[in-house]
């Protein structure tokens, strides 16, 4: 049965907020009532000599490119430069169970009643309640207040699976690709869809990194945002890449991915012509990437995220290397990422126990 209403825990000592930035962090002022209890990890992209001001009163650690190079040494090559993909460095250095990541042009949205949305609280709710990847519930998240499993939903599947990822959405500027932006420059997302749902097992989706939370202990090593930006032939596919890898690994390990609430307000529309140049190759490569991810099969002995990820990197090299040499480099970077992750997170590396089978808490 769905759980009764109880207050959502703050989890302030168990969650880090990771923010990539190259400009400034003014947006944090609006988020202050919701974010101030939490520790922030700021990943400063671009020129490391630029001083990024963090508003007073926040507890944070900040890393610029020099820090990344110092901490990772040669392995720093796997972290992108001049692209928000660098944020995944923040996931690696965090010591917390949960991560929430948000872009610096995302603000607090309002729900249809006019009330400000506490996005972080909704993400926490999503992560703390089970997912239902094995059977679609037509009333969406059965653990939401006022909802439940519908008639015909098998009782044996009602415990669900642990939730690894909570994918939030955006009002105002929608996350469109460059061609769509060019065709519909004025379209704004004004539709508030009051639902959270689990993306079924075996189904891929485009994971946007603008408003995203995940259980770092369950899935962290899969959240590598790839090689993007400076010196790379592609951009704006960092979160997509992480999302496809994450989803196939979650499906393999019996973890759930939710999408829907919460909404944030996305204020800045990036330049579609600049975007087109970044995405251009991705639009073609996608056509090979999707069949690849749809047919990925991970062996039974891949019982940890790291093992799954290394296996995935082998298959990337084997099957996508011929699409473009970029994928050979990316496959190598995936391995470097895992090595760096395990170095910075030694206790996690030792335990490759299969995931707990007990009921979700």
């Amino acid at each position: 049965m769905a759980s009764s209403v109880s207050p959502t825990p703050l989890l302030k000592d168990q969650l880090d907020i990771v923010i990539p930035t190259i400009r400034n962090l003014d947006f944090l002022e609006m988020w202050r009532p919701f974010f101030q209890p939490y520790h922030l990890i700021i990943v400063q992209d671009g020129d490391p000599s630029k001083k990024i001001n963090v508003p007073e009163g926040f507890d944070y650690e900040l890393y610029n490119r020099n820090d990344i190079n110092r901490i990772l040494g040669p392995k720093a090559s796997c972290i992108s430069f001049k692209d928000s993909a660098c944020r995944c460095f923040g996931y690696m250095v965090s010591k917390k169970k949960y991560i929430y990541t948000i872009d610096d042009d995302c603000f607090v949205a309002k729900d249809p009643s006019g009330k400000e949305i506490n996005a972080l609280q909704q993400h926490i709710k999503n992560l703390l309640s089970p997912s239902t990847p094995y059977f679609f519930n037509t009333l969406y998240d059965p653990y939401a207040e006022g909802a439940d499993f519908v008639r015909g939903y098998p009782f044996s599947l009602r415990e669900g699976a642990p939730t690894a990822v909570s994918h939030g959405l955006w009002l105002n500027i929608p996350d469109y690709d460059a061609p769509t932006q060019l065709v519909k420059p004025l379209e704004r997302n004004t539709r508030y869809v009051d639902a959270v749902m689990t993306i079924p097992k075996g189904t891929l989706f485009p994971m946007c990194g603008m408003n995203l939370a995940f259980d770092r202990e369950l899935i962290g090593p899969a959240m590598y945002f790839g090689l993007m930006g400076d010196g790379q032939p592609i951009g704006r596919y960092d979160d997509m890449w992480a999302g496809w890898c994450t989803k196939v690994i979650c499906d393999h390990l019996g973890l759930g991915v939710k999408t829907g609430l919460p909404y944030i307000w996305h204020s800045k529309a990036s330049n579609p012509f600049v975007n087109l140049k970044k995405e251009y190759k991705g639009i073609f490569w996608q056509e090979d990437l999707i069949p690849f991810f749809q047919s990925v099969s991970l062996p039974k002995d891949c019982t940890s995220v790291q093992k799954c990820y290394i296996e995935l990197s082998k298959q990337v090299k084997e099957k996508l290397g011929k699409v473009d040499d970029y994928f050979n480099k990316l496959a190598d970077a995936m391995v470097t990422w895992i090595e760096a992750w395990d170095e910075l997170n030694p206790s996690a590396a030792k335990s490759d126990a299969a995931l707990p089978n007990g009921p979700a808490k």
């Binding site: 679609f136 519908v150 015909g152 959405l169 996350d175 079924p200 189904t203 485009p206 596919y237």
Partner: protein
Amino acid sequence: MAQVTLNNNEVDIVIGALHSDLKSFLNEWKPIFSRFHLIIVKDPDLKEELQIPQGFSVAVYSKSDIERVVGSSSAGLFSGYACRYFGFLVSRKKYVVCVDDDCVPAKDNAGNIVDPVAQHIVNLKTPATPFFFNTLYDPFRKGADFVRGYPFSLRTGVDCALSCGLWLNLADLDAPTQALKPQQRNSRYVDAVLTVPVRSMMPVSGINIAFNREAIGPALVPALKLSGEGKFRWETVEDIWSGMCVKVICDHLALGVKSGLPYVWRTERGNPVESLKKEWEGVKLMEEVVPFFQSVRFSQLATTAEACVLEMAKTVKEQLGKVDPMFSRAAEAMEEWVKLWKSVGSS
């Protein structure tokens, strides 16, 4: 953005009458239903005469009509809620919309009356996208689109064959769930339509659906009848079984299934605690069928809904027949249904 025209002549509205007095039900629906042709099928077990108000173009079928058309031995397929399948059989329209007789129009968040027929037809006439999940839900709705990262080759989508609507007030929960939460009512209007992804199983409630009869008609099968089946939705699984068959068949035929809008308002009826006594049979059966539906496969030769149903019937008999005789009977019903569809359903 898709432009959809709604042609009255393309739609039949099928109502299974489990109550004899349809006056207030139909009067509530008049502004929406009156432009369409209605097929009302009376539950053969219902003794009283149907009371139908003026102002509708309607064909009414009762027990004697059913027996005349399909023969008295096959008439048994159409008792209780399954009577509406007879309506699907005799309809000659491309689209069928079907709503339970205890539902009335709902209102959206702005207070406007929802026209479920129009919404269902929009759902059926715009493509479905089962191969990749769009996080902004239906990309063909006004104000929405495919998001960044959605492969371009998958953006044409496929034909939508089934549209599953939802319910405000009394949601379609099973008896144990509703009995445990007697006050719970569904007040959340979720403003979305989405395609249920390929290979994903789902419970298709028969309370508020629409489908493309030409594409998928034979796949909605009146087959799984509980021995204690009753006259409340809590005491049936016929639609759940039918829906799971339709979904795997749609997946095989590369057709889409959508879920979400439109909502109808489901009025109070029955007592879930009373129905609990009959419920467990259905609940137990559901547990058996999940692994079956997860692994069902069709041959290359199954290129039509009829062919798929026949192949399924065979596999049901072989794999599930030994689990419970109810499944053997369901398989036989599926075969009988296809025969009827060929003789009565297509002409």
